[in-house]
């Protein structure tokens, strides 16, 4: 029997598709920048502005986890396999996507420097500049991982409890707000703490992801596969 079939399936299909989507996303940013440059001076990092959308893309993809789960059950796999292998896939995806985003910052820094454009980042980012690659990588990895995990938790909760599953938004919002203090995405004024250093940022990310995964486990471990409306 193939080992880790769900993860293999996700890596051979979803992973490639999502990385292509991400590349297309940055290509679109490049096109927008080129058009804007015709009209005015560029002073902001396009890749950094794009970072405001990535968390919503991550939570949206995570939300779709319930669809993967139900399909896997129909094909004879178990909830336990899903919980382990889907989470492992999300870690791999977050790592690869964070590496890609970091590479985009590097490419943008080179291009902006050649064109003599300003590359200001958004306020309250965890990184000091667009060339602080280690921090960029860890901050994005943290954000992509936590938002995917939270999306998966809410998606499976809504599938399981239908309307009542919306209550999952309360702990989900709490986790995202706390994560805002860790990686500085979704940094709201009342989140009054910051994490200094890459290791604490990575460590707290793992803890938040583990808490979210535990809640997903509690939701999924005996989740019934409902009959869909035909």
């Amino acid at each position: 029997m193939t080992r880790w079939p769900i993860a293999r399936y996700l890596l051979s299909t979803h992973f490639i598709f999502l990385i292509l989507v991400l590349l297309g996303f940055y290509l679109a940013i490049g096109v927008v920048l080129a058009v804007v440059a015709l009209l005015t001076d560029i002073t902001l990092s396009g890749v950094d502005i794009g970072g405001q959308i990535l968390n919503w893309m991550a939570v949206g993809y995570g939300f779709s986890a319930f669809g993967v789960l139900t399909t896997m059950l129909v094909h004879g796999r178990t909830r336990r396999e899903f919980l382990a292998q889907h989470a492992a896939f999300q870690v791999i995806l977050a790592t690869a996507a964070a590496a890609l985003v970091t590479a985009m910052y590097a490419a943008e820094t080179a291009a902006y420097s050649a064109l003599d454009w300003g590359q200001k980042t958004q306020d309250d980012r965890a990184y000091e500049s667009t060339s602080d690659y280690p921090t960029i990588f860890v901050a994005y990895w943290s954000m992509l991982l936590i938002w995917q995990f939270v999306g998966a938790f809410v998606g499976t909760a809504v599938y399981r409890w239908e309307t009542n599953g919306i209550l999952a938004l309360l702990p989900a919002a709490g986790l995202l707000l706390v994560s805002g203090g860790v990686n500085s995405f979704l940094k709201l004024p009342f989140v009054d703490f910051e994490v200094d250093g890459l290791l604490p940022m990575a460590g707290l990310t793992v803890i938040i992801a583990a808490v979210t995964w535990a809640m997903t486990w509690a939701t999924v471990r005996d989740i019934p596969l409902r009959t869909q409306a035909a």
């Binding site: 029997m1 193939t2 079939p5 769900i6 293999r8 399936y9 051979s12 299909t13 669809g67 139900t70 399909t71 896997m72 059950l73 129909v74 094909h75 004879g76 796999r77 178990t78 909830r79 336990r80 396999e81 471990r221 005996d222 019934p224 596969l225 009959t227 869909q228 409306a229 035909a230």
Partner: protein, 291 residues
């Protein structure tokens, strides 16, 4: 390879509704079972617990001697195809769903799946969501057959199929069963159309197992009597008549129960023709008659 099915005091509840109530099953492997029941009788719920799609509220389910829920050794040997199929995402092309099934199912037969794609005339490049209702059902059936799962169950999987496709489905189940014996369960409301391939029949009623019998044994519970209308009327007077059909002066009455020697002699003397009763008539009678 075939798988036996045992349940003890199986119960499944949805809030206040008891969908499956104290069902004890002991089904040997390597047979084709027909699962019959009225709407809401608990067929889908029973199959869902057998496949590990739902955890029983009470009681046990053992497939091939092992518990099924969250037991990957067992769930990978079970395939339940429901009327909504759920075999893939609506945006996925059929070829991608087949590739996924190949990765997930240890017993998947790719060559057989390809043959069935041609036989059911399904377009590989089209997405699941773009298929007609009948084509989606045919694709679900294909996934069930090509899974080569030792326990394969179809829950109204034929919905939307036209008559030739339904016949192809039944022929394929039978062909597959003869070539590679496995345990099949077909849940259906098309009793007369699908019962010819059943070996045993299970009838659920209001969540409980009403009967479990060999098809022939069940059919022997009734007799059809055909002949001139007035003679048939006299003959069946006082018996439990399940249904009647009339064509000109000829009448056919379905009677519940077996006939004694005297009745058989009387039928022969009056030139009445005796035959097996339609399973559907028996089913309607056993589950409470027309209402």
């Amino acid at each position: 390879m075939t798988l036996s099915i045992q349940t003890t005091h199986l119960q499944l509840r949805y809030c206040d509704t008891v969908a499956v109530d104290d069902v004890d099953l002991d089904l040997p492997g390597g047979k084709i079972y027909g699962l019959l029941g009225r709407n809401g009788a608990g067929k889908t719920s029973l199959l869902a617990t057998l496949a590990g799609f739902r955890k029983p509220t009470a009681g046990t389910v053992r497939i091939g001697g092992e518990p099924v829920f969250e037991n990957v050794r067992v769930t990978t040997q079970i395939c339940l195809i429901r009327d909504d199929s759920g075999v893939g995402d609506n945006t996925d092309p059929l070829s991608d769903i087949l590739a996924m099934a190949r990765m997930l199912r240890p017993s998947w037969d790719e060559k057989y799946a390809d043959e069935l794609m041609d036989r059911f005339a399904l377009p590989r490049k089209k997405t699941l969501g773009s298929l007609s209702r009948g084509q989606r059902s045919a694709f679900g059936v294909l996934v069930g057959l090509a899974s080569r799962a030792p326990l394969t169950m179809f829950d109204e999987a034929h919905l939307g199929m036209d008559a030739p496709t339904r016949q192809l489905f039944l022929d394929e189940v039978l062909r597959e069963y003869v070539a590679r014996p496995r345990t099949f369960i077909l849940s259906t409301h098309l009793i007369e159309e699908q019962s010819p391939i059943f070996e045993r029949v299970l009838v659920l009623h209001e969540g409980r197992l009403l009967l479990h019998e060999e098809l022939d044994e069940l059919r022997s519970r009734g007799v059809s009597v055909t002949g001139p209308a007035s003679i048939v009327d006299d003959f069946v007077f006082g018996l439990t008549v399940l249904g009647e059909e009339r064509l000109g002066p000829t009448k056919r009455a379905m009677v519940y129960g077996t006939l004694g020697e005297d009745s058989l002699r009387a039928a022969r003397a009056h030139g009445l023709e005796l035959g097996p009763v339609a399973l559907q008539e028996l089913f309607i009678h056993l589950t409470g008659g027309l209402r």
